[in-house]
């Protein structure tokens, strides 16, 4: 065999190996969906889909078992809603400040510092929500329980703040300069340029960051596991203990639930619910971002 053809075989082999590595990501997705569907189908052999959606209680670990996912969904939505109440205004304001007002130097220093917030392990935020924020809030709100949705919601909002802020800022930064210059030439202040030109022009990019932040919030696990209690309930009251989908999965995982039992399968049914929500939100965020890109091609 001459050198040429040996080389060609080597090249082919290497390409094959690299391809296998790349296809691993597809296999991961197939694995996730496969596992979730398999166990969820088994789950629905014993529990009716109707009960799953309409029963107001979720008590798979009690003697009197109920399988109503809505109380977990409700807890998840409540915490995510509080988190967004914190992250959207703060994130949007800081994005405007960083893109329209701040000096290059300020941005250079502050942006990486804000990124640190996103890199702090979530168990640390859980500690902080339970042992610092909750006691602090209890001084202000006398009826607040030791475990509640409010404190983890606020802390989670701060955690996803850098994501909202930096993705929104990217979108604002991409707004063509001539649009802004046109407004300045007409005598607009920076505030007017930001609110009437930049934000509307970057809107789908900004919305994309909000949607992605919601997806992060509902998938976040440790803050709510530590600080919001383990009591699934159908309530919108942020002052009492609740349970989220993610916290439920952790609660069951900590116990010694044997595989193959109905209790074991509940975590996959809960996981499937979570996966469907986050996937829908991620795709929506992706779609919004693409739309934004197309506007300024």
């Amino acid at each position: 065999m001459d050198r040429r053809s040996r080389q060609r075989i080597t090249e082919g082999c290497i390409k094959g190996i690299l391809f296998i590595c790349a296809s691993l990501s597809i296999l991961t997705t197939i694995g996730i969906i496969g596992i979730l569907i398999f166990e969820t189908v088994e789950f629905f052999r014993e529990v009716s889909f109707f009960e799953f959606l309409t029963d107001p209680q979720w008590t798979p670990l009690f003697v009197d078992k109920h399988f109503g996912i809505m109380s977990l969904v409700c807890g998840t939505a409540l915490v995510a809603f509080i988190a967004m109440l914190v992250a959207i205004p703060l994130g949007l304001l800081s994005a405007v400040y960083l893109s329209e007002y701040a000096s290059a130097r300020f941005r250079e220093v502050v942006k990486p510092l804000l990124e640190i917030l996103a890199g702090v392990p979530t168990v640390v935020y859980g500690y902080f929500a339970l042992l610092f924020v909750t006691p602090l809030l209890q001084v202000l709100i006398p009826g607040l329980a030791g475990f509640n949705a409010l404190a983890p919601g606020i802390v989670m909002g701060i955690m996803i703040l850098p994501m909202v802020s930096s993705l929104s800022e990217d979108a604002m930064y991409a707004v063509p300069m001539d649009l802004k210059e046109g407004a300045y030439a007409l005598g607009a202040t920076r505030f007017q340029v930001a609110v009437k030109v930049v934000i509307p022009a970057a809107l789908s990019g900004i919305m994309s960051s909000f949607v992605l932040a919601v997806s992060r919030a509902i998938g976040e696990t440790m803050i709510v596991t530590i600080a919001s209690g383990q009591q699934p309930r159908l309530t919108l009251n942020p002052l009492v203990p609740i349970e989220t989908i993610t916290a439920y999965i952790v609660q069951v995982s900590l116990g010694d639930t044997p595989s193959g039992t109905l209790e074991y399968r509940t975590i996959f049914a809960a996981g499937m619910t979570l996966f469907v929500f986050t996937l829908a939100l991620n795709l929506m965020s992706h779609w919004l971002k693409e739309r934004f890109r197309e506007e300024y091609r």
Binding site: V110, V120, V123, V250, G271
Partner: protein
Amino acid sequence: MTKGPLSRNKLIDRVFKITALVATVVGLVFLSVLIIDILIDGLGRVSWSFLTSFPSRRPERAGILSAIVGTLWVMGLTALFSFPLGVCAGIYLEEYAKKGVLTKLVEINIANLAGVPSIIYGLLGLGIFVRTLALERSVISGALTLTLLILPIIITTTRESLKAIPFSIREASYALGATLWQTILRQVLPVAMPGILTGTILALSRAIGETAPLIAIGALTYIAFLPESVFDPFTVLPIQTFNWVSRPQKGFATNAAAAIIVLLLLTLIMNSIAIYLRHRFQRRIKW
């Protein structure tokens, strides 16, 4: 001067600017308060005996030895698996794959995987590694789960780093008769490596703080021995921290704060290495 619309607009602008500045600073204030609170709670507890003791039912005698050793085991293996896999996948997608429907699909897939909640990876690990492959609740199950979790990040940074290399480098190599792989291995990869390493270290520093997926695959919360092989059960720092936070006694909360200090130090060290690498190599290469 009379108060016309112009000065009113200026006033609004100024008020808005201050509001926006305050909003920007809120995150930083929060971060400082968090760090100070944890230092106050836990710094007094960090000591040599805390680092070298096993957990105990008595908080003042408990330590994080098994958690540190477990974290090192899991992170070492995760790095060993995720780095070559991620870099190879990144090279294939960036240098080999033809732009088409399939490649686009793989790209969307990777973007979506990066957005899947980490607890779902835990369920994947539980279903595949712990049950189907019967690896049990072992170090290797944990490492494989975390590998899948950070793979999308490593693939993405690899591609970004490769994309930044000018095409002229490749053309020069082809012109000398080098094959595609020779060009990648000898010209492109060495230059892209700092970027890839930086991204990998950042991904690993994210993995080191992950708690939920490891709880889902059944990592233990109380462990009074060290793993001797990759098939032994284990615990990690965040799980040990979580375990202490969820106990009512005050002493354990102090332990949790001390463990958090160690955990934050570890992530800080990894991030500093990443920043150093990026800084150092960015300066040296100028096209």
